[in-house]
């Protein structure tokens, strides 16, 4: 038990900020922005402190805070982090102020409500990553839906209502499968051990000690229920269509794309539940999931290349990245999982930053169509060079952040008995296609002859410069020194991989 509730602080600070923003008078926009940004920055500071204080020699959950919630059913408010969730918490805390800053000036109406909803969303997502109680996880998981749907539905483009409804229905449809999964796991655990609990750590411990053994049929059923929920949320092909619509209709500024859509809640759930709790079923399902992952990678990359709307292009890029993440995860060895977790962070950083760039371009031209641009380098060299760093990072150029994680996860996949080199070779095709679609986008916007009406486009404004430089710096730093990212997660990842190894050895 930690004396200082640092995790609760990170979770609830943005929500408090949201209430603060709503309490301010409608007219005082400056104060609203200041309060929102203040709350987000405080949460970021707390998250940095968390990373510093994190004990990297420990595999299990740290900074545990626990209060009984519904004691008679073993439901508790328990939050904690391990090496995997640590980075996702940090990522959320890092991206929230970026998203707030990106929205300044780009939201024409009801900015107060917008700021409040973004902050609520940040709270909900951090909650998902820190929840150690399954029910609490589910509550936060669902809680993220409402703000995201409202953000798209109120501030989005022409098809926003349809997109918001589609988003909500799709992800809710996926997530309701989680509920029977959670109930089933809870009841089976109670039958086996007599302990009524929803605590992941407790269930994990009983699984590892052998006090709680699932028979293969039940384990596969539970695995399937959780998998459907997270695969839709992630999203993996063929459940991805909500995501591309949502990105396309979300406001151009990119704030919501960053805040709500690219964070890897679904992928995190896959690691936390499917891989960690059901190693046998994961090993059983790995080849099939590998197929889905490879289809996601190649298909989404190919479709991305066909797009002319830059946000759609990036949305498909995001789906393709998720294919890599899932592939690495279901390699079920330490390299694969570590690479997958690191790639979650890296992909969110680079794709998120590129969404910001698209927002900036769209603000200059009032269009997100590739064909409307060209030769922007001449007019906006600073924007062009920063974008180049981000694009190369997303492609996975050695020395930038995408490379290390992609390399690790592909290496893991190659060595995995369930996935193997055939899948990996196909996935590598996806790496090449990533270069194709991203460089295609870059060429169409920044290279070539500049159309006359674009020649006078203003270059980056100070706010945009700060945003992009921050992102680009992180991309470079993580690329040059990936151990920063891999170090703290090593113990937790090894522990998960050992669970699978044990199972494979015992078979």
């Amino acid at each position: 038990m930690n004396a200082f509730p640092i995790l609760s602080l990170i979770v609830w600070l943005p929500a408090l900020g949201a209430l603060g923003v709503l309490a301010l008078p409608r007219a005082n926009l400056q104060a609203q922005r200041a309060v929102a940004m203040g709350a987000a920055l405080l949460a970021l500071a707390a998250a940095i402190l968390l990373v510093v204080l994190f004990d990297r020699n420990q595999a299990g959950f740290q900074f545990v805070e626990s209060f009984a919630w519904v004691p008679s059913w073993g439901i508790s408010y328990t939050v904690s982090v391990d090496g995997i969730s640590l980075w996702l918490v940090a990522l959320t805390a890092f991206l929230t102020p970026i998203a707030l800053a990106a929205s300044h000036g780009a939201i024409e109406r009801q900015e107060r409500a917008f700021l409040a909803l973004v902050l609520m969303l940040a709270s909900g997502m951090t909650g998902v990553f820190v929840a150690q109680d399954m029910l609490l996880f589910y509550v936060f998981f669902e809680f993220t839906l409402v703000p995201t749907a409202l953000l798209i539905g109120i501030w989005g483009g022409a098809g926003r209502r349809q997109a918001a409804i589609k988003f909500f229905v799709y992800t809710f449809a996926g997530s309701v499968f989680l509920l029977p999964g959670i109930i089933g796991l809870h009841l089976l655990h109670r039958q086996a051990t007599g302990v009524a609990t929803f605590d992941i750590a407790t269930i994990l411990a009983s699984l590892q000690l052998g006090a709680f053994q699932l028979d293969p049929a039940a384990e596969r059923l539970l695995f399937g229920l959780f998998f459907i929920g997270f695969a839709v949320k992630a999203p993996i092909w063929p459940f991805h269509t909500w995501m591309t619509t949502a990105h396309a209709e979300a406001p151009s500024s990119g704030a919501i794309d960053i805040a709500g859509l690219i964070l890897k809640i679904g992928a995190y759930g896959l690691i936390r539940f499917n891989v960690q709790l059901f190693p046998a079923a994961a090993a059983w399902a790995a080849p099939a999931i590998g197929v889905l992952a490879v289809i996601s990678i190649v298909y989404a990359a190919w479709v991305a290349y066909q797009q002319t709307d830059m946000k759609r292009l990036l949305a498909y890029a995001s789906v393709s990245h998720l294919g890599f993440i899932v592939l690495g995860m279901f390699a079920l060895n330490a390299q694969g999982i570590a690479g997958a977790v690191a790639h979650m962070v890296n992909s969110a950083l680079t794709t998120g930053a590129l969404f910001l760039v698209v927002g900036m371009l769209a603000a200059r031209r009032d269009s997100r169509d590739l064909r409307a641009f060209g030769g922007m380098w001449k007019a906006t060299p600073v924007l062009g060079s920063l974008t180049l760093i981000l694009v190369l990072g997303a492609i996975g150029l050695p020395g930038l952040n995408g490379f290390a994680s992609e390399f690790a996860l592909l290496q893991g996949a190659w060595r995995s008995p369930g996935i193997g080199w055939r899948y990996t070779l196909l996935a590598v095709l996806g790496v090449a296609l990533a270069a194709v679609y991203l460089l295609h986008m870059y060429r169409a916007t920044f290279m070539g002859e500049v159309p006359p009406d674009l020649a006078q486009t203003p270059d980056v404004r100070p706010r945009e410069l700060v945003l992009l430089t921050t992102m680009a710096t992180v991309v470079v730093v993580l690329g040059l020194y990936p151990a920063l990212l891999f170090g703290p997660m090593q113990q937790s990842v090894t522990q998960i991989a050992q669970g699978t190894l044990q199972y494979l050895a015992s078979r």
Binding site: S72, E142, V146, G153, V176, L179
Partner: protein
């Protein structure tokens, strides 16, 4: 088994309701009956205020009596002795003791049910006060109270005749209330429809009872005695064990009883009256009809089935018929499917919520299925899940129908399109409706989520896994039509910018239910503890 004077505190809340109903009619006679609108409004307000205050008083008395909050200490000789003695005497009639005359149980089951009904009636009376009532307000409010009285008796009944009388008392009052707006097109139709279906279902219920009587008499005769008819649930339950439990006469009687009560709780295929009635009845009446009346039906059904037919529980399997749990499982299956699909194309908000409330009845049935388990812990969980669902459902639906009452009071209609862009016209009301709708959809952390969670868990434990799976899928379908509310209110453009004014008194009811929904969502323990007593209901 005779009635004594000391038993009066045990039925004090019911007596108070009876007196209150008479008082409301009586005092209405004595007020000024002007024809001008001002005098009419005055008269309506007086009747409403008397009802609200009276129901509030009954609620407090029932709450103290139930010992849910506190137990009054012994008098200590201090200045508060009068109050303490009063409280002690009141609580002497609290939960416990044998059923009065074997027919009226005063266990915690009754106490909690009573609080639910009186609470719902109180909120409904507040909604009604905010709604334009033109004619005969005294009758309106007293019928509301009579109906509450009937429901309270229904939940407490442990005997067939009392159960039937209570059912009739609550229903007849509601028939009149549903047709109360004589000048509107739909209200008389709703009243008549409700009356026809209701009286038919009462007849079916009664026929089922008579078959059960026949069974009891023949069993008594077989045992060598005289063919005496026993009317207590527990007496039937005692005889209907072992071989006798599968007696076709008994099974047929049980089928008729479930069908008769099926109308009251509006499960498919006995639901066809509900959409028309919910849409046509005066909006505050709909709020009451869809919540308290349904809750009463469920509680009577639960007590009746578990006490009178314990031998015919069976298992909730869909393939073979093996007792009333499999019957209810089939009903639950068709109910969740038909209701949720039928709700999709609706355009009228109240009609849509009517189908949603039919769908909810299907979910509630899942909790009852857990009686099939032989473990007492499981059965207790089922009972608590049932109560939890019914209470949160009552609170949420009173609130959401209350919002529709406000909308229809302000605009004159309550189609979904009338709620377009409502957030520009009344933001607080829209926010509250959003919370209530999300709770109905089962989004955490609102009360409706826990209710769904508990009944799914109950269904799962009862072994009805395929049924739970279908219910889960139907939850997604239901989300789609709930989102249509949110879409209309938040995303569609408003046809006018004139604000929708919420009458202050109706606002109180809606705010109260919204706060409860949020509170019970964040701390579900708040009533879960209180419900633990309901599991030991009398007459089992």
């Amino acid at each position: 088994m005779s009635f004594q004077l000391t038993d009066i505190p045990r039925i004090l809340p019911e007596l108070m309701l009876l007196l209150l109903a008479l008082l409301v009619v009586g005092s209405d006679v004595l007020t000024r009956w002007g024809r001008d609108p001002k005098a009419r409004a005055e008269r309506a307000r007086e009747a409403g205020q008397l009802t609200a205050i009276g129901l509030g008083l009954v609620f407090v008395v029932a709450l103290i009596q139930s010992r849910l909050l506190f137990t009054v200490p012994d008098p200590t000789g201090g200045p508060l002795d009068v109050l303490l003695t009063l409280g002690r005497n009141l609580q002497a009639g609290g939960p416990g003791g044998p059923a009065l005359l074997g027919a009226f149980a005063t266990d915690e089951f009754t106490m909690v049910a009573r609080l639910t009904f009186v609470g719902a009636a109180l909120l409904t009376s507040l909604l009604a006060m905010g709604y334009r009532l033109t004619a005969n307000p005294g009758e309106f409010y007293s019928l509301l109270i009579f109906s509450t009285l009937g429901m309270s008796l229904m939940a407490a009944a442990t005997e067939f005749i009392l159960a039937y009388l209570a059912l009739e008392l609550s229903s007849i009052a509601l028939y009149v209330l549903a047709g109360y707006f004589r000048e509107s097109d739909r209200s008389p139709e709703a009243g008549l429809k409700y009356f026809l279906f209701g009286s038919l279902s009462s007849a079916i219920f009664l026929y089922g009872i008579s078959l059960v009587y026949g069974f009891v008499a023949s069993e008594n005769q077989k045992a060598g005695g005289t063919p005496i008819i026993a009317t207590l649930f527990s007496e039937v339950g005692r005889l209907a064990t072992g071989e006798a439990a599968s007696n076709p006469l008994l099974t047929l009687g049980m089928l008729f009883i479930v069908a008769g009560l099926g109308y009251k709780i509006s499960v498919v295929p006995f639901h066809s009256w509900a959409p028309d009635v919910y849409q046509g009845a005066p909006p505050p009446v709909t709020a009451f009809l869809s919540t308290a009346s349904k809750t009463a039906g469920f509680l009577l059904l639960y007590r009746l089935l578990t006490t009178a037919f314990p031998g015919a529980v069976g298992a909730p399997r869909l393939e073979t018929f093996s007792g009333w749990t499999s019957l209810l499982a089939i009903l639950a299956l068709v109910t969740v499917i038909v209701a949720n699909l039928a709700a999709l194309p609706q355009t009228n908000a109240r009609r849509l919520l009517a189908y949603s409330s039919i769908g909810h009845a299907g979910f509630v049935l899942l909790a009852i299925l857990l009686w099939t388990s032989s473990s007492q812990v499981d059965r207790d969980f089922g009972t608590m899940a049932l109560f939890y669902y019914l209470i949160t459902y009552t609170i949420t639906n009173v609130g959401s129908f209350g919002v529709l009452a406000v909308v229809s009071g302000a605009i004159g209609n309550d189609d979904l399109s009338d709620m377009n862009g409502m957030w520009r016209r009344n933001l607080p009301l829209t926010l509250m409706m959003t919370i209530l709708i999300l709770s109905l959809a089962g989004i955490p952390p609102l009360a409706g989520f826990w209710a769904k969670f508990f009944v799914f868990m109950a269904g799962y434990q009862a072994g009805a896994v395929p049924l739970v799976a279908i219910a889960v899928v139907m939850t997604v379908v239901s989300l789609y039509y709930y989102l249509r509310f949110l879409k209309a209110m938040w995303m569609n453009p408003a046809p006018a910018t004139t604000p929708i004014v919420t009458p202050r008194i109706a606002n109180a009811a809606i705010v109260a239910s919204t706060i409860l929904v949020v509170l019970l969502g964040i701390v579900p323990n708040l009533i879960w503890g209180a419900l633990s007593g309901t599991t030991a209901f009398a007459g089992r």
